[in-house]
Amino acid sequence: MKKLRRNIRALTFFLCGLFVLLAAYGAYSLSTSGGRWFASSANTYARARRQGVIAGDILDKNGVVLATTRDGERVYAGDEAVRRAVAHAVGMPSGNVSNGVETFMASYLYGFNMSFLERLSCAVKGEPRQGDAVQLTLDSAISRYAASRFPAGKAGAVVVMNYKTGEVLALQSFPNFDPMNITAQVRNDPQTPFLNRATQSLKAPGSTFKIVTAAAALENFPDAETRAYQCTGQLQVGDRVITDAGTDLAAGQITRHGQLTLRRAFQVSCNNTFAQIALNLTDPTLRRTAENMGFNDNFLFRDLVVENSSYPTQNRTDREIAWTGAGQSALTATPMHMCLIASAVANDGVMMEPALLQRATAQNGKTRYVFSPRVYRRAMKAETAATLKEYMRSVVTSGTGTQAAVAGANVCGKTGSAEIDTQENTNAWFVGFLDEADAPYALAIVVEDAGGGGSVAAPIARDIFNWLLENDR
């Protein structure tokens, strides 16, 4: 009996542990994901409760009205170009665009955060309830300008953010649409205008991923900066050959870089060298660096829903690993995430959490939320970030990204031409930042199916940087 009682006492802890686990997991998931569940388009309860509430206004960082309610109708910014430029970030109450501000921040806009007393006072006075006004970090002027620089008819995305604070200034997807004029053509467009490519579309990051590979080399090889690599233009890995941009084996045309250092390989974006580095690093080491920068993480940002980037973990052949080093293979990331990686390099290795909500103000003037910067994670060592910053600077001064250069400003960046399916079709990427204390802006640009990052995306980056330096300094 004594032993039996002892065993039963041990079981008490186990059985009580079950309840503790339930309570702890419930509290954890409600606090981390509750907002997302609430904002889901499947939430019929919240949709029903919106009736009888006047939705709050949506403003940009300078107070420009992006959305307001007039006579019970939701109307958007007066300028069509602005409406289009912020369409994906703002979204629509109908939920056409998933996780736009209109749906994701419904708890403010529709006054779900009102206290009991506030509700009561509305009821007593017989006034309709009004939701909170929401001020975003978005800048409608830069958004409008960026949209005007994007090649017409192309699909893609532009993200501009402040890398010191994480405030997102522009979050755009192309083709965009006018929320005041949704036509059947827009609905049926094969280019899916409602998809927010900046946060929802996972693509191979291409050569922009070499920032991650280079960081892994710098953090793991003591002689990373002096080691010499040999690029013969054709690297035999298993039964396949890794080549560089411009190579056409059938025509006997091969791009060769000869002997180069990591810095030079980064400048000219040599696939061959980065494939060798990936193989030398071994897959787990490269993966660890990538995961430090947010790959394979579950992004739970307060204001934004961003698809999770993935560093592949299965079917890792040498060929796959080699191509991963150059940003291809099954690797995927969103433009938003690549912008965060550039931001981390610019911000001494600290990745800030991207933010979209500046302030929420109740009808009675009470402030319900004020933004304060939050660190998302330390992505790399400060020394690594400093070296990478220098590398990214040299890409713009004398590498593949010279078209992004702005006279008199320290522009840093990395180009990418990510293969989609064949060599001819590539997504043009540019990620970069201004290394200027009074203009701490980073950006990521993708133009789908448009050619080389250096020739297509870099000029857009130059124009945006130029605009930022002139107007937002």
């Binding site: 039996l4 065993n7 059985l15 309840f19 686990l21 419930g26 569940w37 939430n43 019929t44 309860y45």
Partner: protein, 416 residues
């Protein structure tokens, strides 16, 4: 000798009155809102059953008042939320509740007065295997991927809920007589039947309870290790064999992949809980009936939706108290049989609560077991109350033993 302080009867009376008042007012609120006479009747009937269940029973024989009050609260809560969303189900549940209280008293009396369990255990052993095989033999049609109901005319019941009681009694009896192999074999046969019925949630429960009782009886890490390994093997096999298990796991991993289809139930459950917030949307004001099977699988989500997560935590704490109380009864028991029986009852309630609430909050894949006391379902509610009856039986035996000791001590006798 332990000199236990006698609990003041006043505090128990206050607790029971508070519980009765709560449900009286809750039903009154619904009655005024719906202007329904039937609901007004419920406001009188439900507190009545609570009174009989928690204040009447201790007058018949010594019983654990806290355990009774908590159980009655949860049962009445089930009737309330069910009535609020679907009056027919609420009414049926109130009847089940009344029947359950009577069965609970019978179970208590059985454990209190029956001393020789040899013949009953043998009968139950045979009976439970027959009962479990019944749905298979009767070629009952599948319901939600499982074939675990028996239909007799217009009446239907789930044998696995009744066999639950037999399982607890038989295994406690066998283990207290050191028949480890026989008890494992018996549990194995039951599990096999349940697997064939594809009632995997209940199979999981039977398995876990058996393991807990085995540990209590033997304390053998080897045995538990082997049991866990076997369970893991069976889980992998079940995953490979049953398409609906694969689907459940996929939904668990990412219910948002198909919000309108496969993931609909879980997603709506999660959304209902978050809509409730801290204080709930209010009794009678929610829309939790959008969740498929809200009345059994997702009743916890309904409670959190209408009463808020703070209340949800309190409900969890009530289950935890019931379990702790059960374990305390087990530790005071004088014979191995009664100790094992009590610990089995406590474990069954704990595990069943964990499995279904864990499924609701996406901690584990959802399996179709009921939430004890609250979920809609006659067999389930009656069997849950019977389990409390068994626990009460052990408790009242303990009380009788203690008072016997006291008398002996008064007479100058010595205690071993």
């Amino acid at each position: 000798m332990k000199n236990r302080k006698k609990r003041r009867p006043g505090s128990a009376a206050a607790l029971i009155s508070a519980v009765m008042l709560f449900f009286f007012l809750a039903f009154l609120l619904l009655a005024i809102k719906e202007m329904s006479l039937q609901c007004f009747m419920m406001a009188l009937v439900v507190p009545g059953i609570i009174f009989v269940g928690s204040a009447g029973i201790p007058k018949l024989f010594p019983a654990d008042r806290l355990l009774l009050s908590l159980t009655n609260f949860l049962c009445a809560l089930g009737v309330l939320v069910l009535y609020r969303l679907s009056p027919e189900r609420g009414l049926a549940q109130a009847v089940n509740y009344g029947v359950g209280v009577v069965c609970m008293i019978l179970c208590t009396l059985l454990v209190r007065y029956l001393s020789d369990w040899k013949l009953p255990a043998a009968l139950m052993l045979l009976g439970s295997v027959l009962l479990l095989a019944l749905p298979l033999l009767m070629r009952a049609e599948e319901r939600n991927g499982a074939r675990n109901w028996v239909y007799i005319g217009s009446y239907s019941f789930q044998p696995s809920e009744i066999v639950k009681l037999a399982l607890l009694l038989c295994i406690a009896y066998l283990l207290s007589n050191r028949k480890v192999i026989v008890s494992i074999a018996f549990a194995g046969v039951c599990l096999l039947c349940l697997m064939l019925q594809k009632d995997l949630g209940t199979a999981l429960l039977y398995y876990a309870v058996t393991l807990v009782m085995l540990y209590a009886a033997t304390g053998s890490h080897l045995l538990i290790g082997a049991g866990l390994a076997g369970g893991a093997g069976a889980a992998v096999m079940g995953y490979q064999m049953f398409a609906h298990v694969k689907k459940r796991v996929a939904i668990w991993l990412n219910p948002w992949a198909d919000v309108e289809g496969d993931g609909y139930q879980l997603v709506q459950g999660l959304i209902a809980m978050v809509n409730g917030g801290a204080w709930g949307v209010g009794l009678g004001l929610g829309n939790a009936s959008v969740i498929p099977y809200y009345y059994n699988d997702f009743i916890f989500a309904v409670v959190v939706h209408e009463f808020g997560w703070i209340f949800g935590l309190i409900v969890l704490a009530m289950y935890a108290f019931i379990v702790i109380r059960g374990v305390m009864i087990a530790r005071r028991a004088r014979t191995a049989f009664h100790a094992l029986l009590a610990v089995g009852c406590a474990a069954l309630i704990a595990l069943q609560t964990f499995v279904i609430i864990g499924g609701n909050i996406k901690l584990i894949p959802l399996t179709g077991v009921t939430l004890p006391f609250i979920s809609y379902g006659g067999t389930s509610l009656v069997s849950s109350l019977c389990i409390i009856g068994l626990l009460q039986g052990v408790a009242s035996r303990n009380e009788a033993d203690v008072s016997e000791d006291r008398e002996l001590a008064m007479q100058g006798g010595d205690l071993k």
